[in-house]
């Protein structure tokens, strides 16, 4: 029952799109009809899925690295005022640089392969994770911190038995933002220089004016993002059952 409404919404939009291509007689070169897109996918399903897998792998491994780097980074920032003062502004600056502007340099440094794409993903993903984790740890209720103080707990205890746990629901907010950015990061990397992936497919189809192939690739990207997002939501429900956040998807 829960799945009915989203499917209905999707069908409505696809219907309007289809109708528009017929009523306004839009050329398939500009906007292909849904049927053209499906046809285009069915022509090369193996190839498209293979390229999709490349992009998924770039996004997921970059995302994983961002978690592995971002959470400890947030911990250090909250742990030490000195480190925070030293590196927080740099982090903000790094995040403020348009990633599209960095992409060509990253490709020059790390080549056309996987590494440059993963790095692009990390660049877009790490910031939301650091911010959400740090703010989650900082927002630990004073009464809980006081409880730990009254037990004469060490700072290590305070961080690993209290602050990190308390931050978990917030961490997941950051992760959910990051996972969709991850796919975008991977595609940016592929646009600038790659020989595989859905971003590469889109670029190639532009060159050969195969608009319906580009649409098929974009549809796959959307499916990937949504699937990753919900996989994360599911993990959150399993891992953080006490959080109220899971009611708001």
């Amino acid at each position: 029952m829960k799945a009915v409404l989203p499917v209905l919404g999707l069908l409505a939009i696809v219907g309007i799109w289809w109708l528009a291509t017929i009523v306004f007689e839009i050329q398939p070169l500009l906007v292909p009809s849904p049927a053209d897109v499906v046809e285009s996918f069915l022509e090369l399903p193996g190839y498209l899925l293979e390229q999709a897998l490349v992009t998924v792998w770039e996004a997921v491994s970059g995302f994983g690295l961002s978690v592995v780097a971002g959470v400890p980074l947030a911990l250090l920032i909250v742990w030490s005022r000195v480190l925070e003062r030293m590196f927080y502004p740099l982090l903000v600056a790094l995040n403020a640089v348009p990633k599209v502007a960095i992409a060509p340099i990253v490709v020059v440094w790390f080549g056309f392969g996987l590494t440059s794409k993963v790095l692009m993903v990390v660049l877009v993903c790490v910031f939301p994770i650091v911010i959400s984790t740090a703010s989650g740890m900082r927002s630990t209720p004073a009464e809980l911190v006081e409880l730990f103080r009254s037990l004469d707990a060490t700072r290590t205890h305070e961080f690993f038995k209290l602050r990190l746990w308390h931050a978990l629901p917030q961490v997941f907010v950051g992760l959910k933002v990051s996972i969709t950015l991850a796919v975008i990061g991977a595609v940016i990397g592929e646009f600038v220089g790659a020989d595989a992936g859905l971003g590469y497919v889109i670029l190639q189809s532009g060159a050969s004016a195969d608009t319906s192939l580009a649409f098929a690739a974009m549809a796959l990207l959307a499916v990937i993002s949504v699937a990753l997002f919900y996989a994360l939501t599911w993990t959150e429900r399993k891992l953080v059952p006490w959080s109220e956040e899971h009611r708001v998807v």
Binding site: P141, E143, E146, L147, L151, D152, A153, V240
Partner: protein, 240 residues
């Protein structure tokens, strides 16, 4: 067990406590009562070692208090339970932080004692406010404290639950008496539970007077004998 010697405290230019002298015996239940803002919570935090007095000295079991001690437990106004932990794991937190051996049996025993048997695996949000505060009491007791400090522990509860918990605490104290400092603004709670009641006057907090209750236990709320003490306290608080 607890000795306060001319303790004064000010922070951010506010003079919260002034020249407090107080002794609490090894098995004595002392209630501290006063209007809000009279520094009673500050007094508790000083004894707990969470704050350092601006002047004067505090000692527990003959040792000067410089930091929180393991044999002193603190119970707060709110249950302060960790929402990701089960009831049992919450009760075991102090032992875990102290790095002591398994206290599972003791925890079960305490939960049974406070009527929480069977709730070990639940999480705090599944419990009522009164049950949460019971868990907090168990967590306090698992430290095997020689001193229990309680900061208005029942003030956030409804009247009926509050009465139940007061009687519960009285039972606990009768079974194994400890040195207790119980901060409250409820005259009823103070009269029911305390051996002695310290009345604080506000800004800066000073000891206005000390009332010996001296009534036999167990006591019950609404008992006629308590009325005289209640009236005396009410008078003291109005003029405080």
């Amino acid at each position: 067990m607890i000795t306060l010697n001319g303790v004064s405290h000010s922070f951010d230019g506010v003079h919260a406590l002034d020249g407090i002298d107080l002794e609490v015996g090894e098995h004595e239940f002392v209630a501290v009562i006063g209007r809000s803002g009279c520094g009673k919570s500050t007094l508790l935090r000083l004894v707990a070692g969470l704050l350092t007095p601006s002047a004067g000295g505090i000692s527990v079991a003959g040792e000067r208090v410089v930091r929180p001690r393991r044999d002193v437990s603190v119970m707060f106004q709110r249950p302060a339970l960790l929402p990701w932990r089960t009831v049992l794991a919450n009760v075991l937190l102090p032992v875990e932080v102290f790095g002591l051996a398994d206290h599972r049996d003791r925890a079960h025993e305490l939960l049974e004692l406070t009527g929480l048997g069977g709730f070990e695996k639940r999480r705090p949000h599944e419990l009522s406010g009164g049950m949460q505060q019971r868990v907090s009491l168990c967590r306090s007791l698992i430290q095997s404290p020689r001193v229990m400090l309680m900061d208005e522990p029942f003030s956030a509860l409804d009247a009926i639950t509050r009465t139940e918990l007061c009687e519960e605490l009285q039972r606990v104290q009768l079974a194994r008496p400890r040195a207790v400092v119980f901060v409250t603004h409820s005259i009823d709670e103070a009269v029911l539970l305390a051996d002695r009641i310290v009345v604080l006057s506000p800004r800066p907090g000073r000891i206005r007077s000390v009332v010996d209750v001296g009534l036999p236990r167990p006591r019950a709320l609404g008992q006629v004998e308590l009325d005289a003490v209640s009236r005396e306290l009410r008078g003291l608080l109005v003029t405080a």
